[in-house]
């Protein structure tokens, strides 16, 4: 899937950023100004004890610089990003922080994502050779595939006068799925209500799916319960069973990428994602067409994840609207005020309902 590339200005900024940075915090500013003032007083008066006191302040500043450098040196950070997150919900990112120094401990370490509103994780003490797991929370995640550039390892140890920071280059991607919790009516293909809308979650048992029809190769996202183990063993690669009713009842969820503005566009994506979630919960076989991406029909949670991945990455805005299968077997999610007939079902998203949670507009 294609990750969104940050704009060139941000990339240049990141490249020009010094690897180590020192920020003066408020108490630090006071100490520096105080040291200057005391230095002036000392020079002016020549009072020897003031030299001693000024020396103590200078020593405190020097010690701050040295210790903060020691705290950051030799510290290794590994990041563990969750498989995916949902838009608008906090994302917990885990880190493994280890001190590879042989002698000196590190104190007061902070691991911060370069993510607006991220709460940094904090490690109070890390002895030499010790490894600690910690986590940070990213808030207000927007749908998309976000490249994670690296983390900032910082400390204000020992006195909280200065904040020293170092960039830790860590490549990573955070996939943020659209929301799937929009309340929608059930799908009605050709005016009929979806047949298994009241079935509980999970894939339907094989008995409801008619007779065994054929086998085909396993595709990512297929329900592992449909794997035909004997054929798999014979062929040496996973093979799936298909049932008669599967083909008869499968349908496509088609996301129309044309949208007047971002809010409506996101509402359309959320609607499509909620349809995916509902279909998975009912055990429907569904395919997904969004922009240029196609996901062939299938069922199960793996299929849902693949669909949500596509929806996370889909770029809204324009494009031609072509049904991937006979239009009667397609459920269209669109923001257009009018679409040609023939679609199996249409979920229309408009500006009035976009910001509210349910976009239930029946044709």
């Amino acid at each position: 899937m294609a990750a969104t590339r940050p704009p060139w200005r941000l990339r240049l900024q990141a490249r020009l950023r010094p690897r180590r940075r020192l920020r003066v915090l408020r108490p630090g500013a006071f100490v520096i100004v105080g040291t200057f003032a005391l230095g002036l007083a000392t020079l002016n008066t020549g009072n020897n004890l003031l030299y001693l006191l000024m020396g103590a302040l200078l020593g405190t500043i020097a010690l701050s610089g040295w210790l903060s450098e020691q705290a950051l040196r030799g510290v290794r950070v590994e990041r563990h990003v969750p498989r995916a997150a949902t838009a608008g919900e906090p994302v917990h990112v885990l880190y493994t922080v280890s001190n590879r120094k042989s002698r000196l401990p590190s104190h007061g370490l902070e691991v911060r994502e370069q993510w607006p509103g991220a709460t940094p994780s904090f490690v109070a003490a890390l002895e030499p050779g010790e490894t600690i797991r910690t986590r940070s929370v990213l808030m207000h995640a927007r749908r998309g595939v976000h490249p994670l550039e690296g983390v900032v390892l910082g400390t204000s140890f020992p006195f909280g006068l200065f904040a020293k920071e170092r960039d830790v280059r860590l490549a990573g991607v955070l996939v943020v799925w659209p929301r799937t919790d929009r309340r929608l009516r059930a799908v009605r293909l050709g005016g009929r209500r979806g047949r298994r809308q009241d079935t509980g979650s999970g894939s339907a048992p094989a008995a409801h799916r008619g007779d065994y029809r054929a086998t085909r190769e396993y595709r990512p996202g297929d329900d592992p319960r449909d794997i035909h183990w004997r054929s798999t063993a014979r062929r040496g690669e996973p093979v799936l069973r298909e049932y008669e009713r599967d083909a008869a009842e499968e349908y496509w969820i088609v996301l129309d990428t044309a949208a007047p503005d971002d809010v409506v566009a996101e509402a359309a994506v959320d609607t499509a994602a909620s349809l995916v979630a509902a279909a998975t919960a009912r055990g429907d076989r569904f395919g997904l067409a969004a922009g240029t991406s196609r996901l062939p029909p299938g069922s199960g949670h793996g299929r849902a994840e693949a669909a949500l991945d596509i929806l996370a990455a889909v770029r809204m805005g324009g494009g031609r609207l072509l049904p991937p299968a006979p239009a009667a077997r397609c459920v269209l999610v669109t923001a257009r005020p009018a679409v040609p007939g023939g679609w199996g079902d249409v979920f229309r998203v408009d500006g009035d309902h976009a910001a509210i949670d349910a976009a239930e507009v029946a044709t």
Partner: protein
């Protein structure tokens, strides 16, 4: 941790207060209550409710104290320092009793540091140095513990537990700050002239001591001893043989009105030709206290040259007297030739009466019997020296007493010579000067100090107010003013010193002297000298001039710095050994367990492997806990990974529980 932090903060405030006291003493009325409050705050911190109730009280008192400080500055035009200190102390107490937060910590630190600056404005003793070091270490601990616990609490995490290893490590960091401070102190160029430190000059009081007058009029009391140190004298080129009989000459007086000597300064007063005097030059470096009586430079007579080393300026006044200007304690280097010319040379001197010399024959109206006595000495001697010596010797037969005469009638020269025949040095010198003048010999009264105590610890002579003395100078044409001391020998010096604590006092005076010399009065001169010696000590021994006392003190200083470094290093290393993962902590805990069981006589064999040790103590109290601890220890010692922090904690608690059970078992029989 927050409780530890609050205690450390209170301790820091108390240390700052004590440091202030070393400079300013107990002058500020709030010092004692503030000290008591801070001492209580170390042990008892008010709860949240009590702290809230105290808050308005602090504000009201702070407002009152601020008003008082304002009044002192703008209306009374008085000394603003003490009212400001009262206010500062109140704010510090309030801050120490508040809940600790980030800005509070910064305020608290600023207030304690302000107290240190206030202390530096005085002239604190060497205790300042000790307290300063303690302050730096406690400040480092307070700031680090505060910062870590605050950061943890802000993120909803429990603050890290205060482990001894960590605290030791942070204390070692404090030593690094002290080392930096010492470095800055030693090497920061002293390019500016110093201000006057707030030192109060020693008062001219009714007690024994130097005053700028010689009088025999007082009566009805006795002179109290006064052990205040006035001069500290170093002899850079070698110590004279008898330091106890050196005359530290101060001022001379040429006019006597019957009761009091005074000075009529004449530009044409003849002065001593020190170049002619025999004997070698004795060099003295004198660290003097400022005296309220007069800005006099004390030195051995006759003075060849004086060079000021402190922020004062010395100059030659009339009548061989040297004076200085400046508002601080003077330090000066004097070169003198104190060896008196040989009696035979003095006997050959012919008196020539010039008008300037005649001025030293002035006398008040005096009794006939006194005049007759003076004549008897004149007739008996063929020259001035013999005449002076005869009077000196005769007066040596008198008694010495610090008791003053009972009534004004008895406080006269006649009564001293003919009836009482006992008195203090001013009676003797006055009697001799008057008898000489009446006999036609120009003479004058001088005062200063006689002798001093040699301080073995510091290698210098301490002269106290107890050594104040008065004697006579006689004019010998061609030589100048030659001193005579008619006071019976052995009467003055040492008679009033506290013998029991002498060595302790010498030690403290020695410390104080070094503190003054190397810290309070450290200047560009000392600094360049230090550089020179450092460079000198790096050059090969053969090319170096003989080592002096200064080299030794430099070496001692370096040794002290090196020791400090070693202490910091050892602390860091031990802290590291404490803190390194689970392994060494586990071993330590295991050994603690073993030792405790061995002290109870269990197990019988000393060198059992850990698991057999557990088997051996199976029926002993605490065995279950001990087994868990030993299992953890074995895992830490021989397992693939070190113990986690929680496991180390469990190990620690298991050992503690095992030992508790063991003790309980032992008590029960």
């Amino acid at each position: 941790v927050t409780r530890l932090h609050a205690r450390l903060a209170a301790l820091l405030a108390l240390l700052a207060l004590l440091t202030f006291i070393t400079g300013a003493g107990l002058d500020a009325p709030s010092v004692i209550p503030a000290g008591a409050l801070l001492l209580i705050a170390i042990f008892v911190q008010p709860g949240e409710r009590a702290a809230r109730l105290l808050e308005p009280l602090w504000r009201v008192v702070a407002l009152l104290l601020a008003l008082r400080a304002g009044l002192a500055v703008f209306l009374d035009r008085g000394d603003p320092v003490l009212p400001m200190v009262d206010l500062l102390l109140l704010l510090l107490c309030a801050e120490s009793l508040r809940r600790r937060d980030g800005s509070g910590d910064a305020r608290h630190f600023a207030l304690t540091f302000a107290l240190l600056i206030a202390a530096a404005a005085y002239r604190p003793g060497p205790l300042f140095g000790v307290l300063f070091m303690a302050y730096v270490i406690v400040a480092t601990l307070t700031l680090v513990v505060g910062q870590l616990s605050r950061q943890s609490l802000n993120r909803g995490l429990p603050p890290p537990p205060p482990r001894a290893a960590f605290l030791a490590r942070v204390a070692a960091l404090g030593i690094v700050v002290i080392a930096t401070s010492t470095f800055v102190f030693l090497f920061f160029p002293r390019v500016t002239q110093a201000w006057a430190i707030r030192s109060s000059p020693l008062p001219a009081s009714a007690v024994m001591g130097f005053s700028d007058r010689v009088s025999i009029g007082e009566h009805g009391a006795s002179i109290e001893p006064n052990p205040q140190v006035v001069l500290r004298v170093e002899f850079p080129d070698g110590v004279p043989a008898s330091t106890g009989s050196l005359y530290w000459r101060g001022r001379s007086y040429n006019r006597f009105d019957g009761r009091t000597w005074s000075r009529v300064d004449r530009t044409a007063t003849p002065s001593t030709d020190a170049q002619r005097w025999p004997g070698s030059i004795v060099e003295q470096t004198i660290y003097a206290r400022q005296l309220a009586a007069a800005n006099v430079v004390f030195g051995l007579h006759p003075i060849v040259s004086v060079a000021s080393q402190s922020r004062t300026r010395t100059f030659r006044g009339a009548s061989d007297d040297f004076l200085y200007v400046g508002e601080t304690d003077p330090i000066y280097r004097i070169r003198s030739r104190p060896e008196r010319p040989h009696p035979d040379s003095l006997r050959q001197v012919e008196m020539r009466y010039t008008p300037e010399v005649m001025a030293h024959l002035q006398l008040p109206p005096m009794s006939a019997r006194l005049r007759a006595l003076a004549d008897s000495f004149r007739v008996a001697s063929s020259n001035i020296f013999d005449q002076s010596s005869a009077i000196e010797q005769w007066l040596h037969t008198f008694g010495y007493t610090l008791d003053l005469p009972d009534s004004p009638a008895e406080a006269t020269l006649d009564h001293f010579i003919f009836q009482r025949r006992a008195g203090h040095c001013e009676y003797f010198s006055t009697a001799m000067a008057v008898l000489l003048r009446a006999g036609g010999v120009p003479a004058r009264n001088v005062n200063g100090f006689l002798g001093g105590e040699w301080n073995e610890f510091g290698g210098f002579l301490t002269v106290t107010q107890n050594h104040a003395h008065s004697w006579v100078e006689v004019w010998f044409p061609g030589w100048g003013w030659v001193p005579f001391d008619p006071t019976p020998p052995g009467a003055v010096s040492g008679g009033v010193s506290a013998r029991g604590l002498l060595s302790l006092r010498l030690l403290f005076t020695g410390l104080e002297h070094r503190w003054g010399k190397w810290v309070l009065d450290y200047d560009l001169g000392t600094q360049t000298e230090l550089f020179r010696r450092t460079v000198g000590s790096l050059t090969p021994r053969a090319r170096r001039p003989a080592a002096s006392e200064g080299d030794a003190s430099l070496v001692r200083l370096l040794v002290v710095v090196a020791l400090l470094m070693v202490v910091a290093g050892a602390l860091l290393r031990s802290a590291r050994a404490f803190g390194r993962g689970g392994r060494s902590a586990a071993t330590r805990e295991y050994l603690r367990l073993r030792r405790a069981y061995q002290r109870s006589g269990l197990p019988p064999a000393r060198a059992l492997p850990p698991l057999q040790f557990v088997a051996a103590i199976e029926d002993v109290p605490g065995a279950a806990y001990a087994r868990r601890a030993v299992e953890l220890y074995v895992r830490a010692r021989f397992g693939a990974r070190p113990l986690t922090r929680i496991e180390v904690q469990v190990l620690h608690e298991s050992v503690a529980a095992a030992l508790r059970e063991l003790r309980r078992g032992r008590r029960q029989g």
